[in-house]
Amino acid sequence: MIDQFLRNPWRVIWQAATSDLVLVVLLLGIAAGLTIAAGLPQMPEANGDPVDYARWRSEIQARFGNATPTMQTLGLFAVTGSLIFRALLALLAGCLLLRLVECGDRLQRHQEISEPTGEWHALADVELPEVLDDVRGRRYRVLSDAPLFQADRWPWAELFPLLAHGGALLFLGGLLISNLWGWQIEGLTLQSSERVTLPKSQGWIALDESAASAAHGPGLVAFFEERGPGVQVAAISNAGRSLALQQAAEADPVTQLSLALTEDQYLAIPEAQLIVRLTPHPDHTVEAHSPVRVQIYRSPPGRLMTETVIEGDAELPIDDVTLRLTSKPYAKLTVTFNPGRWVTGAGLVLLLIGVLGSAAWPVRRFWLREEVQHVAGNGDLLSTLGQSVET
């Protein structure tokens, strides 16, 4: 081995890098990382919601107690973002690239008949023409260079590993692209017919009137996390004048308020001394057009004046004020920009075809040779031929 290395070090390195064993070690390392990530609560993204971060911190403290700092030092709560995990992915990509080159070379090399390197075994009770017919019937390709016959599954059996390696590389490339240039905004709440420009001018997104679908700028993907009821509120005096509405004491008065009922919502009509409470009806599942409970209080003294449940648009007269409520459902969205989406998808499709094809149609090559008194076999013999090997 050392002699071989000294004679041709690059060849030895190439063979080691493309060996099954190296691939196995890398795959197991990454699998271990992902299994740990699945079992332990992982740290939310650094620029994410502080509430999520606080929730994660309290969860790990409660679950692991005094072991938490040690586990955190070991990086068990940030596995996929760790240097080791990324290094393993990079090494896997390198290994796959070299193996892809080798797969391509093998596909080309095995186009023609090759000389076997293994040991020949005498096969008892085997008639060569019958065996060759049987092998052809099993969709093997048979090449002959009398007296030598080679049976294999070229080109498909060699093509599937090529597809699997190429697909895996594309997949990793797609992940890299999305990691470098992609971004995601979670929990973006929009009300029907609302259009917003995303932070840092990263595009725009607009919800349709019924909050059923969203239009967005190019390259974005919007996923609906939840839908719920929302209301646009206006208060009109008997004189037909719009009254000012306030959501908080320090908020600027406005004549129209749009409220997404993600939770209980309150608003005040100071001129009429009214407080309005809006909540999704607790007896219904929360949907875009589910009923809304409206409670109106006189303030002071905080006495409930009226309570009703509305569905869709409604007008509620209270004393000399008419409350106009227009249904404006909301949707909570996750918006993703992933420039590597198509690369990842194409990689996944190729990987699936390659792996499933390899499982159904694995590489198998064997040679048969007509000898004076018997037939000899070499290579990965079919099980029927394997039973005929003379010991």
Partner: protein, 241 residues
């Protein structure tokens, strides 16, 4: 432990598997004719008892958070003899029964887990069921490689190939759906990472299938354990409550 119909069926199946393993061991020392056939029949009976137990558990509206259904279904797949059963050495049967026995025994233990009040079992979740089937095939593959190493028996590849192919389909289609719907492969759930981890472990076992038998067995067992743990924790019932 409450004497429910489920525990009776699963308990009987465990007993049958223990008896089958005992008979197979006994046959190694005293070759009484008829024992191999009895072991075969016992393994089929255990499989039938387990499937009845699984159906009873599903029908009965038991605690859906306990992994009983997954464990029993995996044991059901691992228990019956395979098409190659007769060609294997008799010692092999002990090792082939072992995964099913461990899974059924663990399921029996979980049956006694406290029942959540007000829970109703919903319909079966297709992905959860497919992952469970993978786990069962993985358990079969683990038993076969164990017997291959211990008895130098023939190498039977179909359970590990089937488990890997099915797992590839599940993980690949889940990732494709995520890419299509969410725009990204990872949505951030633990089950996704677990599925990817189990797939990579099987991919490692698949890549190492030309390695020496002991290494191949080690890789298959690691992959099977990761898959069984994943399947046991994967939700198999849609919540109808």
């Amino acid at each position: 432990m409450p004497a429910t119909a489920v525990s009776v069926f699963v308990g009987l199946a465990c007993g049958a598997l223990v008896a089958g393993a005992g008979l197979a061991l006994w046959y190694c020392y005293r070759q009484v004719p008829g024992i191999p056939r009895a072991v075969h029949v016992i393994r089929w009976v255990a499989g039938a008892l387990l499937i009845v137990g699984a159906l009873e558990w599903w029908r009965g509206g038991h605690n859906p958070s306990a992994p009983v259904l997954q464990l029993i279904l995996m044991a059901t797949l691992a228990a019956p003899p395979g098409v190659n059963g007769r060609s294997l050495a008799h010692r092999s049967h002990v090792l082939l029964i072992l995964p099913a026995l461990v899974l059924a025994g663990t399921g029996l233990f979980w049956i006694s887990a406290p029942v959540e009040t007000g829970t109703v079992n919903g319909p079966i979740a297709p992905v959860g069921l497919a992952v469970t089937v993978c786990g069962g095939l993985g358990a079969r593959a683990a038993g076969l490689v164990l017997s291959e190493v211990a008895t130098s028996g023939p190498h039977v590849e179909w359970p590990s190939t089937a488990a890997f192919a099915l797992l590839t389909l599940i993980a690949g289609s889940a990732a494709l759906v995520n890419v299509w719907q969410h725009g990204t492969v990872w949505v951030g759930t633990g089950s996704e990472s677990g599925l990817a981890g189990a797939w990579l472990a099987w991919a490692a076992a698949w890549a190492g299938r030309r390695q020496p038998p002991w290494l191949r067995a080690g890789l298959t067992i690691v992959a099977a354990v990761s898959l069984i743990v994943l399947a046991a924790g994967y939700p198999i019932l849609q919540n109808a409550g």
